[in-house]
Symmetry: C2
Subunit: 253 residues, 2 copies
DNA sequence: CGGGATCTTGAGCAGGTTCAAATGCTGTGG
DNA sequence: CCACAGCATTTGAACCTGCTCAAGATCCCG
């Protein structure tokens, strides 16, 4: 990788506060970077690498941007805690949210082809990320082959996720969309050892609607219908899923 | 096959069907694999590699499958001549076409995460591909670092393309969708030195509609409207774009 | 505790779908 | 080489899902 040589000024943020504590592998188990490192030395992670990477932590508050469209690619981000939305724009200003990302997921990979960010990433709640500068990633990629493979896998996974979203946007009706959406979060929370049936959505109804290609009002209506049908209960952004099987049959893969 | 002749006027496929000549770099300029190799030795491609790869050519006839959903990942494919559609399915059998791929493009990269194909690839007309077995790709990847970077770039590019499609499916109306679609082909043909304003679409109206998330009939109606507005002329699958600028302003990025 | 943001629900409208039918190609078999 | 069967394309008309506009309820933050 030759493109990553340029060094970007580090972001002048009040993120320094959190930097004093050392990140232990245990607290990083959920971190995408941990996944990148895991196979380096068999089951034992190369701690030097991990620590180098995770030392570069930053704290963002709700509404702040990780990166903007068009900015040169500086770093990729692993979410340690919190959530982020990414979105693209039409040239007349319409927005399409392309993903909601939670603890342990990686951001910024779509930028590699263009050498600049092609989407924008905005933090939905107070969120801590590990910022991995491209040159650091490059250096370790050259040293440790399995990281390259992990990168490929992660990017390939992103392609798969996008395929699923295209299927949803192109072929599913409102109920199928919302059911699919909820089950996606259920699975992802479960993978991170959170409850798969009771969780908090950190984004607004409007964001959900935008992501799923439907109006905010339609999202509300479908939520209400699901509640009437005993499929779930909602309390603002707090959701409890009551009948995963029925939701699955509604979502239709 | 006449369709293929119309599509590729300068490259009579039928004449090459029983092609036994060695593929020279020149005839491979448009091939995605060539892109993979190009930076190996500066401007000069490693011919051993290129020849090894492109020797593995296969000819497919209209309607045949390159791979099916669920099959273990064996190889990736570079289209040398012809066109291919890829699609995914809901579990109740609905189809969403995720891409139309033409000469020089690479297929199968989304399968790396799952180690099996997650979409299906069907040939739209007589098509020649280079089949690159994964172990071959692996071997050369280990030997030649720049191939890895090329792979990353190509996958990243696929993520970008998918983002564009999501924007289209989520936020654009019928006219914007068709205009965007036509301009995408215009650009891609131009990049391959074909005419950007006069080309043959190798897929049916129904496929176009499926891809763009609209009914076949709507595709026809928008084509008719565009023709009434002097934006283009159509003759079955033959399209001539008359006013790229106005199409661009309709497509809205 | 006030005010803006978010969420919810209702009513009417519209873009696009579905159903139906006519017409035109294509390539296949005799 | 030609006729015909089958598929693709086009156009019309009625319908419906989800959108827009509007208004009220609720929450959250300072």
């Amino acid at each position: 990788m030759t493109a990553a040589v340029r060094m970007m000024p580090t972001r002048p943020l009040a993120a320094r506060a959190a930097d004093s504590e050392v990140c232990s592998p245990v607290t990083c188990r959920d971190c995408g970077i941990y996944g990148l490192c895991r196979e380096v030395n068999g089951p034992d992670v190369d701690l030097r690498l991990l620590e180098t990477i995770v030392r570069n932590r930053k704290l963002f508050k709700r509404g702040e941007l990780l990166y903007r469209i068009g900015e040169p690619l500086r770093a990729i981000y692993a979410i340690r805690c919190g959530s982020v939305k990414t979105y693209v724009l039409t040239n007349d200003g319409r927005v399409q949210i392309t993903g909601f990302h939670i603890t342990g997921e990686l951001l910024g990979l779509g930028a590699i082809a263009a050498d600049r960010y092609t989407s924008e990433a905005r933090v939905l709640e107070t969120t801590m990320v590990c910022e991995v500068p491209l040159d650091v990633l490059d250096a370790y990629s050259n040293e440790i082959p399995s990281i390259r493979y992990q990168m490929l896998k992660i990017m390939s996974q992103e392609i798969l996720d996008n395929q699923e979203l295209m299927l949803l946007l192109g072929k599913k009706n409102a109920e199928e969309r919302l059911a699919t959406f909820l089950l996606s979060f259920s699975r992802r929370f479960q993978r991170r050892s959170y409850s798969p049936t009771k969780f908090n959505l950190s984004m607004s109804r409007s964001d959900i609607g935008n992501y799923l290609g439907m109006a905010e009002e339609t999202v509300c209506r479908v939520f209400s219908r699901f509640q009437d049908d005993q499929l779930l209960t909602t309390e603002r952004r707090q959701v409890q899923l009551l009948d995963l099987d029925r939701l699955k049959s509604i979502a239709r893969g």
